[in-house]
Structures are given as structure tokens and as C-alpha cells.
């Protein structure tokens, strides 16, 4: 069942593109937003070069590494970013938009499971979505900042390759850094 995005605003570019996810869902996205995914942009530019007739909405761009739930979030985030072709706002409008964006970001993060962050980061990396990658990397950093070493290993699926006495040495060296750890 295809999943279409909202109708585009009349002022921005009305060209749309269709992205197909790994679970075969179709997303119709405005060109302006899709272009923030540099992988898609590259694909689109290649497409433009070869066949002028088959543009935008008639081509379906496959994203075999991205699941629909993940793409939905990334598209939603991409839409909230300042659009590159938007009319320049005055200072007040800019400040209001900034506040709105902050509120949206906080809401977004609240509803995310930590595990989803990894999927979002992977997808943003695959799509070469710079702003999304920065945002979710920061969110993940904030999340693990005060967590224990064991939590981090489990979270990233990392195996502990230290001997117990080696690890003990490092822990003793900076005992103060291990204080104040969040509960898992």
C-alpha cells in the first residue's frame, strides 16, 4: 500500500519523486526534500542526464537498504529543515521557525526507541543525508553519554576483548569518570 506525503505547498517546487523502500512501500516526496538525500540526488541527476522524458514522478527510486518506518521519519525530519529554495525570512520569522523546529525535534526524540536511532543513523548515512546524520548522531551521543560501559557494549553489539585485569586498570585510572552512571 503506498504511502503518500502531504500535498506540496504551491510556492515551492511541485516536482515530486517516488522512493521505494526495502519493504516495498512507496513514498512520494517533494523534490526539494528528496534532494537533501544526496544519494537520491545523485541518482536523480544520473537519471536526468540519460532520459529527459522520464523525470521525477514517473521514476521510482529504489532504496533497498531503508525500511519504510525509518524513511518516514527521515522524510519528516527533512521537511522541517530550512528549504534551500525558500524565500529568505526576516529575523523574527527565522526565530519562530527555529523554536518550532526545536520543539519538533524534542518531540521526535521522545517518541523514538534508542534502537531506532541506530537504524536512522545507518539510513541517513546510506542516503548521505548530512543534516539528518548530524542530528541523529548527536541524539545518540546524548543518549549514551551517561550510560555504563556494559550498556554501550550491548547496544552496539560489541564484544569485550579485554582481560579482566586490563579493564580493571583502566577503570581505576579514571574512577571518577565512572561515577554518576544512568540506570540501564
Amino acid at each position: 500500500m503506498s504511502n503518500t506525503s502531504e500535498n506540496p505547498k504551491p510556492s515551492s517546487s511541485s516536482a515530486k519523486m517516488t522512493l521505494k523502500t526495502s519493504d516495498n512501500e512507496l513514498f512520494e516526496v517533494e523534490e526539494a526534500v528528496a534532494m537533501k538525500f544526496c544519494t537520491v540526488k545523485q541518482y536523480f541527476e544520473d537519471e536526468k542526464d540519460s532520459d529527459v522524458a522520464a523525470r521525477g514522478s514517473t521514476t521510482v527510486i529504489p532504496l533497498p537498504n531503508v525500511h519504510s518506518a525509518v524513511l518516514a521519519t527521515l522524510i519528516s525530519y527533512g521537511k522541517k529543515l530550512p528549504q534551500s529554495n525558500a524565500v529568505a525570512d526576516n529575523h523574527e520569522e527565522e526565530e519562530t521557525k527555529k523554536k518550532e523546529r526545536k520543539k519538533y525535534e524534542q518531540g521526535l526524540l521522545k517518541n523514538l526507541m534508542p534502537g531506532e536511532l541506530l537504524d536512522l543513523i545507518s539510513a541517513a548515512n546510506y542516503l548521505d543525508f548530512k543534516e539528518g546524520l548530524e542530528f541523529f548522531n548527536q541524539a545518540l551521543a546524548d543518549h549514551i553519554q551517561n550510560k555504563s560501559v556494559e550498556y554501550v557494549r550491548k547496544f552496539f553489539g560489541i564484544k569485550n576483548d579485554y582481560e579482566p585485569h586490563e579493564e580493571e586498570k583502566y577503570r581505576e585510572e579514571y574512577a571518577w569518570a565512572f561515577e554518576g552512571v544512568d540506570e540501564d
Binding site: T39, D119, D128, L133, A141, V149
Partner: protein, 411 residues
Amino acid sequence: MSQSKQARAPKILRRRTRRDDLPEEIVLEILARLPVKSLLKFRCVCKTWYSYITNPNFISTHLLCYNNNHDGGYVIHMPKATFSMAYFHLPHSQICTLAFDRTFETISEFRIPFTFESGYPSLVGSCNGILCFTDFIISKSKDVYLWNPSIRKFKRLPDTCLTQLRTLVIGFGYDSQSNDYKVVRISQTRVKDVLAREVEVYSLSSDSWKRVGLGVSWTPNAFSFSFNGILAFPFVSGHLHWMIEMTEEGGGQERRFTSMILSFDVNSEKFKELPLPDDEGSFIVTKCVTSFKGKLALIKFGYGVQPHSMLCSIWVMKEYGVLDSWNKLCVLPVDAFIDFTGFTNYGILLIRNMPRLVSTNCELERKYKSVLIDPETLNENEISIQVNYHLDVATYMESLALLDGANVVFH
């Protein structure tokens, strides 16, 4: 059609990623956003993460990434040792305060983890989160310490390699080309009529001092370095700077007074002169070099047209080394006897005004007013803390520098 494109478009073609497939550059980007406390902890996660975190390139990346990530930065400040403090044997608190650099609101306090013989620490400079201290009373001790408060590690430098150390001038800088921290010391001794100047440079990577030549060729008989209370050894564009006042004994009773800026390139370890901007002819009482938003700055105090109006003019060297690029940023009228502390990273100047006698509960109290002035807009903001003494101020950064190394001590 879309099938044929599939091979070209995706850069990283792989199956739906599992957690441990997160590419190295992504892990590094996430780590670079963590505070040092977390990084010290996560060295234990596995050996790969240990090597990521201790890698010098990562340490530099993290320094920039983490410290630029926040709205506003931090400063560390402490009471500045002064001659009157020493004369009256007033104790130095040995406490450093961490504060927000926009408002100077206190975040936390901690003790300086080492002591000097005189009991008076003197802040030499700060680079990339490392602070350099020496004894304020040079004759008591020539100890120099490097301290990274964010990882709670400090190091005492080895003893001097010079035969004598007198009239010391010192500076602390970072050599970005070789990723090394250096301390420079200039010693000037006068034996009868013979002036001897010696210079030594300490490099953290070699953990040793070595002699270097002064090299600057000029022949005045004497020069003195002027200290005016502001952190007078600014590190700008890879160079350390000191203001030098020279007297040259000419024929007869003549004495020529000239000033210049002595600069030291931390990479080539060579000295040079830097030109001062042309004097406008107003009566200059004193001047000193400092840094403003990463550029070399000159602060001159002098009298204006009216005899009792003291003016402070701030000059900035827009293009390093170019005489013509000295630009007068602003002129501030000042009350006499104010204390300029210095510029924060964002170019805001901290000034402590002359104490005013204020009547509170029928008693006269001395109240100090400290303000932050933006020289570009001349906006003033009073800071919340009561500061009853002169301050040494340094930028605080979270940094992993000084993590490993010989003779580094934890506290």
C-alpha cells in the same frame, strides 16, 4: 529502467544493517560529540574503541567538534596573584571557578592540584584545554605545570636547562604542525654592564628543554617586558607575543624609548619583531598586547583631549604580520584605575571598575562592579558574581590532550 540504475546509485550497498555494522567514521562522529568524562569511560568498551579515543587525530577532531557544539563556551577564572597580595602576605585561595563565558555565572569550583613555594600561582596561558602555570614569585621557584582540568591530569615540567634564570618571561603555545605543546622562557641577567639573554624551549613530545637563540638583531642596551595585568603573552596565529619597552642610551643624556612586539613562532622556534600601529601623538600611559577573537590586539591607555579623561583604545591586527592591517576597533572612556581582565573567546572584555563606596545598613561598603563589554557594539552587561579581586581568566575546553605521557599525574 530502475533496475539498471540500481548498481550505480547506492554508495554503500549492503543488506539491512545490524548494529555492529555501523561504519567506523560514524562511530567516530558519535564519539566526537561526547564529553571527555564519557570518553575516558568508553575506552573500556573494547580495544578498538580504546584506539579510536586515544588517537591524536581523534583528540584534535573531538576538541573542535565538542567545544563548538554548544551555545556559548566556558571560562576558568581564579584570583590573580599581585605584588600587593604578596607584599601583604594575603593568602591565595588556590580555587579555580568554572563559569559560562557569556555571563560569568558560576558552574563549579575546584582546587588547583599543585602548589608553588610562594603559594601564589600565576597563569601563563591556555591552549586547547591545557592550562600552564608557574610560580608568581619567580625567585622562589621556577616550576612550570601543565594542567588539563577536564581530565584531571597535570604534569610538572623538568628543570631548566639554562645556567641562570632571572627576569623571566614565559609563554605557552601549541604547534599545530607537529601537534606539540611548547613553553618558552626568556632569561635576562645583568652582570656588571654585560647583559646576557638566554632562551629555552620546552616541548611536550620530547618532554625536555632545549636552548634556542634569540636571533632578533637589535642593539638597545636594555629592554624590559611590560606586564599590565592582562594575560600578556597572547598566542595568535601560531605565535607567542610580548610587549617590549626598550631604552637606548644615546650620546650624552639622551635616552630613546621605543616599544615593539616580540613574536615567537612555536613551530620554527624563531623570534621576530612585529610593528606597532602608528602613535596618534596622544599621551600614552601604558599599553599591552592581548588577543581578540583569535587576532592580535593592542590595548593602549592614554589621556585624551581633556586632561582628566582617560581613554582606552583597542587596536586589532586584522591580517597577521601586516603593519597596515592594524585597525582601531574602538575607544572607551574609562574611569581611572580600572582593571582590564582580558577578552573571552567571543571577544567580550571583562572590566572591574573602581570600588565604589556604597551605603548599606548605615555602613560604608566597598562594592566592586564588574562588567562585560562588547568592544564592537559597546554593549555593557554587569556580571552576577561579586569579584573583589583581580582575575586570571582562561578559556575552558573539554580536551583529551595530555592523556598519556611521561610523569603525568592524576588528581
